[in-house]
């Protein structure tokens, strides 16, 4: 799905106001197939505000450079303001694809390094929703869910290794009357794998070896959901509360009761997303897609926003 090209973005800096154009809610309503998730009564957690700067270094090799950069979107969890994209010679077009807002950056015959800087301010609220029970499904899914149920590179949901693991785990519980696919997938991902920092990140290897990294457990959970007929998708986000190391992080969204709800099995986030996470993109896709370049590297800078006030005397 390609959104109308926004001519205003062809300049190097995205006016902040444009950030709200064409938003697709991350917690969006779909077909109401069951009780919709509702906001749980949560302790009042204040929102926080952070400025996020992502610097991407693209090394050209003389080819036509193509870079896809996810742009943050406002939703119930986060409000994005003061958004700028400094492209330094790259042509830019904003598109919506699979619910992601993407900056498509191109540079013909790019030689040498170029920097792209993407900056925004996010007001982030903690999210907590009840997750309605969702039965294991049989038969063909609704058209709009197909994309989030198919096996993909990291979510090999129809692999016999995955199906065997899930069936072996779920069958006794289903025979005992349980039929909540999300709970079954959650319990399997959380209990059947040893959580290790250096564990496997791929679902098949994790299932063979029995250990998985946090990324691997998130992928396992999303994979088991798809196997059970529950639409799911990995999410890329930035952890603004992390002080050291890589700030790029992942969790999972499951479609329950017609809405996408945040979950993370390794971090025990059942329908919860703390206010330290800013969502950037979803789906089993690279964080930054690139073609025709030698290499791409990126780094983050997180800061508290500085507001200019006027002294009235």
């Amino acid at each position: 799905m390609t959104a109308p090209r926004l001519s205003a973005i062809l300049v190097c800096v995205v006016p902040a106001a444009l950030a709200t154009i064409g938003l697709v809610g991350a917690v969006s309503a779909g077909d109401e197939t069951g009780p919709a998730p509702r906001k749980a009564d949560a302790q009042a957690v204040p929102s926080i505000e952070r400025t996020v700067r992502l610097t991407v270094r693209v090394e050209g090799n003389g080819g036509d450079a193509y870079v896809e950069l996810p742009l943050a979107q406002s939703d119930e969890h986060q409000t994005i303001t003061d958004e700028t994209l400094v492209t330094r010679g790259f042509q830019v077009e904003e598109v919506m694809r699979d619910g992601n807002r993407l900056a498509i950056l191109t540079f013909p015959k790019l030689e040498g390094p170029r920097r792209i800087t993407y900056q925004f301010t996010a007001r982030i609220r903690s999210t907590k929703v009840d997750v309605p029970a969702t039965p294991v499904s049989v038969g063909d899914p609704p058209e709009e869910d197909r994309a989030w149920l198919r096996p993909t590179r990291h979510l090999q949901s129809t692999s016999p290794i995955i199906r065997e693991k899930l069936i072996g785990f779920a069958r006794p519980r289903m025979e005992a009357g349980e039929n909540d696919a999300i709970r079954l997938a959650w319990d399997l991902a959380r209990t059947a794998y040893e959580r290790r920092k250096d564990g496997s990140r791929t679902v098949l290897k994790a299932t063979r070896t029995g250990h998985a990294s946090d990324r691997g457990i998130d992928r396992l959970f999303a994979t088991f959901l798809r196997t059970s007929g529950v639409p799911s998708r990995p999410v890329f986000g930035v952890d603004v509360g992390k002080r050291k190391g890589g700030r790029l992080t992942t969790w999972v969204e499951a479609k329950a009761g017609g809405a996408w709800v945040p979950m993370s099995a390794p971090r025990n986030l059942w329908g919860r997303l703390p206010n330290r996470y800013v969502k950037l993109a979803h789906g089993d896709r690279p964080f930054i897609v690139r073609e025709g370049v030698e290499s791409v590297r990126f780094r983050w800078k997180i800061s508290r926003p500085v507001h200019t006030a006027e002294e009235v005397q």
Partner: protein, 686 residues
């Protein structure tokens, strides 16, 4: 140009009749769908199976096919990239695009002239029958798949396509469909209606107004097998299309594959593949020298064995391994060429089957071989053997690019993977396709290549599925841990069989397995203790691909002649040529061997020379006549520790392995002929 036919859900007979009239006037009369490619949106068998019957044409003269079917490619949202890729390769001029109402609006770039046909699951059979057949076509029958089971429907589709006859799929009311079949039969000039499933022929004949024959699913398969008359059997499990937890529906693709290969077709539901093949052969079908299994290991199960090496070592909780079908866990010789088509879903498999049956190569495809060995610096012995395999390929005129150790980088893999017809990975397994987590390389489509992933558990990783998704035609890998010498020896034996004897992928796999099994026998004769690891390697390898496929790269007659063997009377002569491949070295190991010679973990240590010289092994296969019995014994004027064999009674093939110590001292660098005597043993047929 785009022609659109739509048969949305109909209400009442008049509306249905009107829709049919519109359909019949939509295009010119034709005996089958005029299509270079048939696209089907979704994977509903009620959409797919009638398409097989409607698109089938008579096979070309000399073709083994039972019917000539254009590529039938299933696709859905998310499959656009690879579907468009295979369409680009197929370069169709006419495409028929099928799907439920509204499907043709789905976004897919389709080359050529496109004809859209939309109908509900219930109506697609009828719509296609009327679109593809016309008065005077006079098919032998109109087929009706009765009941709700997929097995009989698949059998009916195969039979209908073989007869170039229309197929209707009955719903809950069989007699209604038979009545419709009767009207169709009258229009087309078909003399009878064949119902596959259950039903009362007399009552159905009254409904159809035509003679009705009722065949069970098994009878339909037998009738189809009689048309195929092949030594190739396709096994699938229709149960893989129903139930919870995302069944992959791979059995849907068993029909076009069997039709295209001219192979018989059967189901394994509740039985093992070995039992099914034996049962068919016992009733006079076959014999089946080639078996293609369509389905993953949940649909078509594999035997499980405890790790033989760990059991011998007394480990209390040994690993459990899967053993490929038709492989004997105790090490009996392999006697069938077996391959498995296991993809993540029917969409991937439909493209794979299209690649296997139709030429999808394009001029951009690399034709040579890529060898990547010992990327982790751990398998020096395997690297030494791998270097001789590269030399063997080069000797047969194959363009080879080989990389070792630190030369193998993610960038190199990314760059080289799409450019070759054969990729041999040897060493510690890794997923070549996954790359970095956040910044993976662009997903390149692949040429119709063979990927030989020689390492531990390589078929239990992500790569095989992703390689197939992107365009590979074969993946050879393992279900167990494999030591590098056995693994590299297996790969070398596999490629030698293809290069020097023209064996297909399945035959070469069986030959390489028998080579390792003969090594086990030789090691036992020589008193080596570690033969169990070799046996485990022999049981490990499996082919995901077409067992009848030839070598995937261009080769020519070898520059230097290879080891050969022949039988005259009851004597086997093995000719060992003088000329050798270039010497290779890796760490302390070195080898300078003759073309077609094999290697394993056996080496000589000569105190006067540095390093460890790998021992040459000579391996040959000979078919023995019945008069040499069903348990022949071999003797030779050489020490008994220098030769061993394995024997496959079903094919009467003897695989003979000879240690270089059997070559007379002083032979120097000249051709040598070794002679072996075959003694009749067991039951002897005169």
């Amino acid at each position: 140009m785009s022609l659109r036919i739509s048969a949305r859900p109909l209400v009442g007979g008049a509306a249905r009749a009107l829709a049919l009239v519109l359909l019949l006037t939509a295009g010119p009369a034709r005996a089958a769908l005029e299509a270079d490619v048939v696209l089907v949106y979704g994977s509903s068998w009620r959409q797919v199976l009638p398409a097989y019957a409607a698109a089938a044409k008579a096979p070309e003269a000399g073709s083994p096919a039972v019917a000539r079917l254009p590529p039938v490619i299933l696709w859905t949202t998310g499959e656009e990239r690879w579907t468009e890729d295979v369409l680009r390769r197929l370069e169709p001029k006419k495409v028929v695009s099928l799907g439920p109402p509204g499907a043709s609006g789905a976004r897919l770039e389709i080359p050529g002239e496109v004809r859209h046909i939309e109908a509900t699951d219930e109506r697609m059979g009828s719509v296609l029958a009327n679109a593809a057949f016309d008065e005077g076509d006079a098919p032998p029958a109109v087929y009706v798949a009765g009941g709700s089971g997929l097995g009989p429907a698949l059998a009916a589709a195969a039979l209908a396509a073989a007869d170039r006859a229309p197929l209707l799929l009955a719903g809950a009311r069989l007699h209604v469909t038979v009545r419709e079949a009767g009207a169709l039969a009258r229009k087309l000039g078909a003399k009878e209606i064949v119902v596959v499933g259950e039903g009362d022929a007399t009552a159905l004949a009254a409904a159809g107004g035509r003679r009705v024959k009722v065949l069970s699913g098994d009878e339909a398969l037998a009738a189809y097998a009689a048309r195929a008359r092949s030594r190739h059997l396709v096994l699938a499990s229709p149960a893989d299309a129903t139930g919870p937890f995302s069944p992959p529906k791979l059995s849907l693709l068993s029909v076009p594959y069997a039709l295209g290969k001219g192979a018989a077709l059967s189901w394994v539901d509740g039985s093992s593949p070995e039992e099914v093949a034996a049962a068919l052969e016992s009733r006079g079908e076959g014999p089946y020298d080639f078996v293609t299994i369509i389905g993953d290991h949940l649909a078509v199960p594999m035997r499980h064995v405890e790790d033989i090496d760990q059991v011998a070592a007394g480990k209390a909780d040994p690993r459990i391994h899967k053993v490929p079908p038709f492989v004997d866990p105790d090490g009996a010789a392999s006697d069938r060429a077996v391959g498995r088509l296991a993809a993540l879903d029917a969409y991937d498999l439909s493209r794979w089957v299209a690649r296997l049956l139709h030429d999808v190569s394009d001029r951009q495809d690399g034709k040579g071989a890529l060898v990547l060995a010992n990327a982790d610096h751990k398998f020096i012995l395997g690297e030494a053997i791998s270097r001789t395999t590269s030399a063997e390929l080069a000797n047969a005129g194959v363009r080879v690019e080989s990389f070792y150790r630190e030369e193998i980088t993610p960038e190199l893999i990314r760059k080289e993977l799409p450019g070759h017809g054969l990729v041999l990975w040897e060493g510690h397994p890794r997923d070549l396709t996954l790359d970095d987590d956040a910044l993976p390389a662009p997903e390149s489509s692949l040429p119709p290549a063979t990927f030989f992933l020689q390492g531990c558990y390589t078929l239990d990783r992500s790569d095989p599925y992703l390689l197939i998704e992107r365009g590979a035609t074969s993946v050879i890998g393992t279900y167990m841990a494999v030591y590098s010498a056995s693994g590299s020896g297996f790969a070398r034996a596999f490629l030698s069989s293809q290069l020097h004897e023209g064996e297909t992928a399945g035959e070469a796999l069986a030959s390489a397995r028998n080579y390792l099994l003969a090594i086990v026998e030789l090691k036992k004769r020589r008193g080596h203790k570690d033969w169990r690891k070799t046996l485990r390697a022999a049981l490990s390898f499996d082919l995901w691909g077409d067992p009848t496929a030839p070598l995937s790269v261009r080769a020519r007659r070898p520059r230097k002649a290879a080891v050969t063997a022949s039988l005259r009377g009851d004597r086997i002569s093995m000719r060992i040529p003088a000329s050798r491949l270039p010497r290779v070295e890796a760490g302390p190991y070195n080898a300078e061997i003759r073309p077609g010679a094999q290697l394993s973990a056996l080496y000589d240590v000569d105190e006067s020379k540095p390093g460890r010289r790998l021992v040459e092994l000579f391996f040959a296969k000979v078919k023995l006549p019945p008069e040499l019995g069903d348990d022949p014994q071999i003797t030779a004027p050489y020490d008994e520790s220098t030769y061993a064999w394995v024997w496959a009674p079903r094919t009467r093939k003897l695989s003979l392995l000879v240690h270089e110590a059997a070559v007379p001292k002083g032979a120097g660098r000249r051709d040598v002929t070794l002679r072996f005597q075959v003694h009749p043993g067991g039951k002897v047929s005169k």
